[in-house]
């Protein structure tokens, strides 16, 4: 059986990130933490990119999917009494993450289907509402810790899990966009009416985008929960959704490489600015404004978009 190059890439990434876990103890814990966050945000931003950048649906509730994945996986590892050192932890974590992703994608379906009639601003507000609804529901569920939060989550996240998932997201997006099947997404994003006229069901495309994006956001949530070991609803508010949206826009909607770079940049930046403490948020925000004025199509995009509401292209989009 001939293996596609992309699968070779994926397996290599699994192996390399697995090997990386053996040396991660030697790394300065602060840098290691930033590295993990970079990985998690790449997953979050790329998964949002599937919805926003490739299918063209404006979603402002991505943190909601992250929250679902975080809480679902935490509940599972808690129920299975998984602890950090045990041999059992590997398959258990895999199951927990997978379930987190699946439950999140189910909500992606629930959000996706009714939202499909909505366009632009209306869809954005609906997804924003969804994100908040999830947060509020969790806040009121006692068995999830409500506003006090969910504590005692085993610290199972390491470079293998994070970077294997990063590789998986890249693999999925790249293969999707570079297939005839995936071109339908770009077509729907560019001109829904024209896409329908050549036999593409825009409804189906949007649902698939939402479900896929939600799935990976859910896994990112699980990875996050099992790194910070304590989660509460306020971590998954609209502000989090907004941070992820910013990463996608700065990176360039529909640009795989661009979003990876911007997620990395925007994760490092607040940390790098810690030295200027009280001016940190000012500088960060100022930078965003400047970038949007000078390069609205995204920092890392090569080709300019033809229409102002069309997504630009890079060699990897």
């Amino acid at each position: 059986m001939k293996l596609d190059k992309s699968i070779v890439f994926l397996i290599s990434a699994f192996v390399i990130s697995g090997l990386a876990t053996t040396i991660e103890n030697r790394l300065n814990p602060y840098y290691f933490q930033i590295l993990i966050y970079i990985g998690i945000y790449i997953i979050l931003a790329s998964s949002l990119n599937i919805i926003n950048g490739y299918a063209g649906q404006f979603s402002l509730g991505h943190a909601g999917f992250m929250a679902i994945g975080a809480y679902t996986s935490a509940v599972i590892t808690s129920a299975l009494h998984v602890s950090r050192g045990s041999v059992f932890s590997f398959p258990a974590f895999a199951i927990a993450l997978l379930f987190g992703g699946i439950v999140a994608s189910l909500f992606g379906l629930i959000v996706g289907i009714p939202s499909l009639r909505l366009k632009g601003d209306y869809l954005a507000i609906t997804t924003l509402g969804f994100g908040e609804i999830i947060r509020v529901i969790v806040q009121n569920l006692d068995f999830l810790g409500a506003a006090r939060g969910f504590t005692g989550i085993p610290k199972l996240t390491n470079s293998f899990w994070v970077f294997s998932t990063v590789a998986l997201v890249i693999f999925v997006i790249y293969n999707l966009v570079n297939s005839t099947y995936g071109k339908a997404f770009l077509a729907v994003r560019d001109d829904e009416v024209a896409a329908e006229a050549v036999g593409i069901s825009s409804t189906r495309v949007k649902v698939v985008a939402f479900v896929t994006g939600a799935f990976f956001a859910g896994i990112a949530g699980g990875l996050y929960a099992h790194f910070v070991t304590y989660i509460n609803p306020m971590q998954f508010s609209f502000i989090k959704s907004f941070e992820i949206v910013v990463m996608v826009i700065i990176g360039g909607m529909g640009s795989l490489l661009g979003v990876i770079l911007s997620a990395t940049l925007l994760t490092i930046l607040p940390e790098a600015l810690r030295g200027v403490a009280q001016y940190r948020m000012v500088i960060y925000s100022l930078l965003l404004v400047i970038i949007m004025i000078t390069r609205p199509q995204g920092l890392f995009v090569k080709r300019r978009s033809i229409k102002k509401n069309a997504a630009p292209q890079t060699e990897l989009s």
């Binding site: 077509a187 024209a194 050549v198 593409i200 825009s202």
Partner: protein
Amino acid sequence: MSLLNVDNCTKNFGGLAAVSDLCMEVGTHDLLGLIGPNGAGKTTVFNMITGVHHPTGGRIVFDGIGLVGRKAHEIARLGIARTFQNIRLFPSLTVYETVQVAFNRNVRYGFSHAISRLGSFHEDEAAVRNNIMEILEFFDLTEVRDEQATSLPYGLQRRVEIVRALATRPKLLLLDEPAAGMNPSEKVSLMNLIKLVREKYDIAILLIEHDMKVVMGICERLIVLDYGVKIAEGTPREIQNHPKVIEAYLGEQVQ
């Protein structure tokens, strides 16, 4: 042998009757022109056939299948393709990718194999690639295949749009004012293009057009609409001298 049968179709937008009781038949090899002054309801007819609008009344039957109530993409899959009055291409796609989108329905694999590249993926993609190259070659678009489709000159954009429609292997092709915005030499190219399409594909073509040279030059039969009502039907020669048609176009030149 009628391929498309529009039976007493009406479309009301609020109080306005855009199309009233239209009856129209298109045979499997017809080249039919739909003409009439601006606002006569011609594009509305197209939109009803392609499922963009639902008729307020009447039936539309295509190849024995009722179209009313079906979604636009379903109707496209049944074998009706169209181009748009204001060219609607995909701004971020190249010419190659634009045609590739139209071949979307030819792939047998689904989401999981699009990602894993197992199963029939490579075979299907190779087949699509061949189809794309073949059709681009035939319509002389090979040189521009990696150009952004919307960056091409207007005449070429229209050609790409027509090729995209043909890539879906339709039985009926609807062209909505294909000559709009073209200079005389582009119009001649267009007419030759349509004739070429007829020769190669032997499909039915329904054409909306204002340019009478184009209409008289290629259409075998004409239907004339005015204020949403069919006022005449016949060969170009018959229509040219039809009193009602001349009256509807009063003030415009009819050759």
